[in-house]
Amino acid sequence: MLLSQGDLQAIVLTLELAGIVTAILLVVATPIAWWLARTKSWWKGPVGAVVALPLVLPPSVLGFYLLLAMGPHGPVGQLTQWLGIGTLPFTFWGLVIGSVFYSLPFMVQPVQNAFETIGERPLEVAATLRAGPWDTFFTVLLPLALPGFLTASILTFAHTVGEFGVVLMIGGNIPDETRVASVQIYDHVEALEYGEAHRLSVVMLLFSFLVLLTLYAWRPNRRKF
């Protein structure tokens, strides 16, 4: 067996986390991207900057604030305790929430670009053909923005797989709960298990390369509207 039981567990957990985060962000980021692409409001700048923050912020900073917010004395922690689900740090769902923030720009920005490229015209055309706003969204906007959504989903998934700092801050290192592949590698190195660290690292390296290869080799044929 090339990978240990613990390694496989970590990989499955990582894929699970990345899949759930990508699904959540498809729903959460689309309206944000839509608003950013359309608005002429003064708030566009500040909101765009907040969305982009995880790109430049050390993950430990993001993780630290999330830890405070979700902890027993933080506002989110108070809410979750009041709801009777305890506190989120050091749980899988705490990790999901942290990752949603951490990967937000990777979903928002490509989708926002796609919406901006499509422009107003197709939406106006749809309106003159009797399509209401939701109808237009599903029959015109989504199909036209599909390449943007695919790019965004691949980036978000891959970026979540590669997450480390935020996980350490709010997830800790609990087997089968928060111990994702990147943390597992860190553990191997700490324990001087360089062979194990190598095997898992190679898997991660290949995965990341293949994802990026798919992304760069695949050129959606740009359609003229």
Binding site: E124, T128, L129
Partner: protein
């Protein structure tokens, strides 16, 4: 709340100001049938006006009623969004949906119209625009002219109660324009859908319009029946190089011996080169002002075939050497004509308003 009133025709009131541009339009007598051209130079506000009518620009304080149905009335806080207005819109670029085939593009709007309101059959729209052989293609496999024809058919297939066309030929070269114009004329002749047609081309106006609205810097300068508007000496149209009158006539007689065709209109007859159109076909004639000369007596010794009695209605200088003369070719004043002659000739003939004389027409352009 009832949205119907008893007026027919189109009433439109819009006031809009942005980036130093003001649109201030109050039109209460646009005909509810035929083709109305919104004519003006770029920046005159004609496209903005069309977008207001479509509801694509939301104008506070606006009012719009189309053949008795109110689409927008600020005083009642009524604003129908674009997708609830039974209109068709043809954009300057065809703007077909690139992810759908021609057929699916045509069906897109039609599917969203209730069965009871479908009056134009899909087949009819396809046949009218001659696009039957293109149905399975994707938009990027079409030429510019084909795309625009599909765009027009797509708008027609929704059985619009008002068809809005925003310079549908402007993005095409002159060959493609000539390819599409006959389809637009057919549409005009075969479907009873009022059309608002934005253009800056006097040619398209002369060929297609029944009614003309002249826009300048966001305001309506004049609005009226095409025949009268083209010969109004106080408007810039009569002063253009290509200025002239249009006459709606009918094919009356074919002369096979001399290969000529006689056309009949209110107030007279004109002879043109043998036309292929069958007898009884309505046709539109264009007579350029530069092709009309005036004579005090009827000269039967002239080679010119088309000589009509007429009366001088107005005289207006047009440049240092030339003068525009507005005439009418029948006693009831129903067929106006325009002549551009020299100031010297005016003096030589001592022309005056009210005078009876003869017009000699050197050339008649037959359109459609």
């Amino acid at each position: 709340m009832s949205t119907t009133i008893t007026h027919s025709g189109i009433q439109a009131r819009f006031f809009l100001r942005f980036d130093g541009f003001t649109l201030d339009v109050d039109l209460d007598d646009l005909p509810g049938r035929g083709v109305t051209a919104l004519f003006g130079h770029s920046g005159s506000g004609k496209t903005t006006l069309l977008r207001c009518i479509a509801g694509l620009e939301r104008v506070p304080g606006g009012y719009l009623a189309v053949n008795g149905e109110v689409w927008q009335d600020a005083s009642r806080a009524l604003f129908k969004p674009t997708h609830q207005r039974p209109l068709g819109y043809v954009f300057q670029e065809a703007s077909l949906f690139p992810h759908l085939s021609v057929r699916r593009n045509l069906e897109y709007g039609r599917q969203r119209v209730p069965h009871s309101e479908r009056r134009v059959a899909l087949e009819q729209a396809i046949e009218l625009l001659g696009i039957g052989h293109l149905l399975e293609r994707k938009p990027d496999q079409l030429s510019g002219g084909e795309r625009q024809r599909v765009g027009i058919a797509r708008a027609l297939a929704t059985s619009p109660r008002l068809l809005l066309m925003d310079e549908p030929l402007a993005a095409l070269d002159s060959k493609r324009k000539r390819e599409i114009l006959p389809y637009l004329e057919r549409l005009h002749a075969e479907l009873d859908i009022p059309v608002l047609y934005v253009t800056h081309s006097p040619e398209e106006v002369a060929q297609l319009a029944d009614h003309l609205v002249l826009l300048e810097q966001g305001r309506v300068v004049a609005s009226g029946a095409l025949g009268e508007m083209l010969v109004r000496l106080d408007l810039p149209l009569a002063h253009e190089d290509e200025a002239g009158a249009v006459i709606d006539a009918m094919v009356a007689v074919h002369d096979d011996l001399y290969q000529l065709t006689t056309l009949e209109f209110d107030g007279g007859r004109l002879v043109v080169a043998r036309s292929a159109q069958p007898l009884g076909t309505p046709v539109r004639l264009r007579i350029h002002a530069r092709d009309v000369s005036l004579a005090l007596a009827r000269h039967d010794d002239s080679s010119i075939l088309n000589i009509l009695p007429a009366q001088v209605m107005a005289i207006e200088p047009a440049g240092p050497a030339q003068v525009l003369v507005k005439l009418c070719a029948d006693s009831a004043g129903r067929t106006p004509l325009l002549a551009r002659i020299t100031r010297k000739s005016v003096d030589a003939l001592s022309l005056a308003v009210g005078q009876s004389l003869y017009v000699q027409i050197k050339s008649v352009a037959l359109m459609g």
